[in-house]
Symmetry: C2
Subunit: 191 residues, 2 copies
């Protein structure tokens, strides 16, 4: 079982070596092939995923029948549909592997049990959610404030390696533009 | 000092009566007049606000020079610019009282101290952030998926009292439409 998640906990809190195995027991490790779905839309959202290696995306089918990607998760990031996970209901989203991806996954019940048994981890998840939420709050601002071209440049300036790593049609989907429009922006000299 | 915030903690965690005063010592209570700013843009985001009574909004000035509201907070809701709060940097947002509003406010340093002294509250904030983040994730979906008219109906169906309580030009700002367009939608028979 990968201890990479324990390393990540230790960036935020102390974890005693004697607790490592007990904590890891609550998780399952699994590898998904490129384009394999971790969670299908209209099914119960059972798991919270931590990416060990690879990349995930969360998308939904919009009212034009097109896949709209709203989030990516790479190494050391968490992902799920949080509303459906917390309420253990069906999700409107699909979570899919963008490339071959290895995850640590934990069910809702196990996450609750883990936190009751190791309450120190409440702080870890509080800090993770705080950061994730703060990023989401800024992203909402960008959605209102940026043109799609500005959004691309912002993304590319802040995450240059990531912008190159992901398939360009998925980046276009995340930026709410067609792949053709993305190519056009990239080939244009920046004004 | 209002114990309403302690009541809210108790919806999620146990708080022993002997700890109440010690917890409340970390907070300041303050009342803001209608349209008064709690935090101005381009100033350091010092506080996290819990609404005792009234209503707050968070907005920024968009590239057309118009106030774009992206969040409201009513009784029992928390609000700040989380990125600027966590990093103790200047915010790009303004937080303003929509009506006369009484808040409990806590500085970043005090929130950290509070959580170190009463680690049980980590669970409370973890659950609060988890819910806030899950709402934000769904809102991102709506921003992509709903027409502005659908967004209004969704908001009105889910928060009917709130949709009536806030000034209509602010509701229009939140829904990213002009007040005139909002009136038009409201006067139209729903298709």
């Amino acid at each position: 079982m990968s201890k990479k998640i324990i390393d990540h906990f230790r960036k935020f809190i102390e974890v005693e070596p004697k607790d490592e195995d007990g904590i890891l027991d609550f998780f399952q490790m699994k590898t998904f092939a490129k384009k394999e779905n971790l969670i299908d839309s209209n099914t119960r959202c059972k798991f919270h995923f931590f990416v060990i290696s690879g990349c995930l995306r969360l998308f939904f089918i919009n009212n034009k029948g097109i896949e709209q990607t709203i989030q990516f998760a790479i190494e050391d990031w968490w992902l799920t549909d949080y509303f459906a996970f917390e309420n253990q209901t069906a999700t409107e989203f699909t979570i899919q592997a963008v490339e071959k991806t290895e995850v640590m996954m934990i069910s809702f019940q196990n996450q609750e049990r883990l936190l009751l048994q190791y309450p120190k981890l409440e702080r870890y998840f509080r800090l993770i959610y705080q950061r994730t939420y703060s990023a989401s709050q800024l992203r909402t601002k960008y959605l209102f404030d940026f043109s799609r071209e500005e959004f691309y440049h912002h993304f590319n300036d802040n995450f240059p390696k990531f912008a190159q790593r992901i398939p360009q049609h998925l980046l276009a989907s995340y930026l709410n533009m067609t792949p053709e429009y993305l190519s056009e922006i990239k080939s244009k000299k920046r004004s």
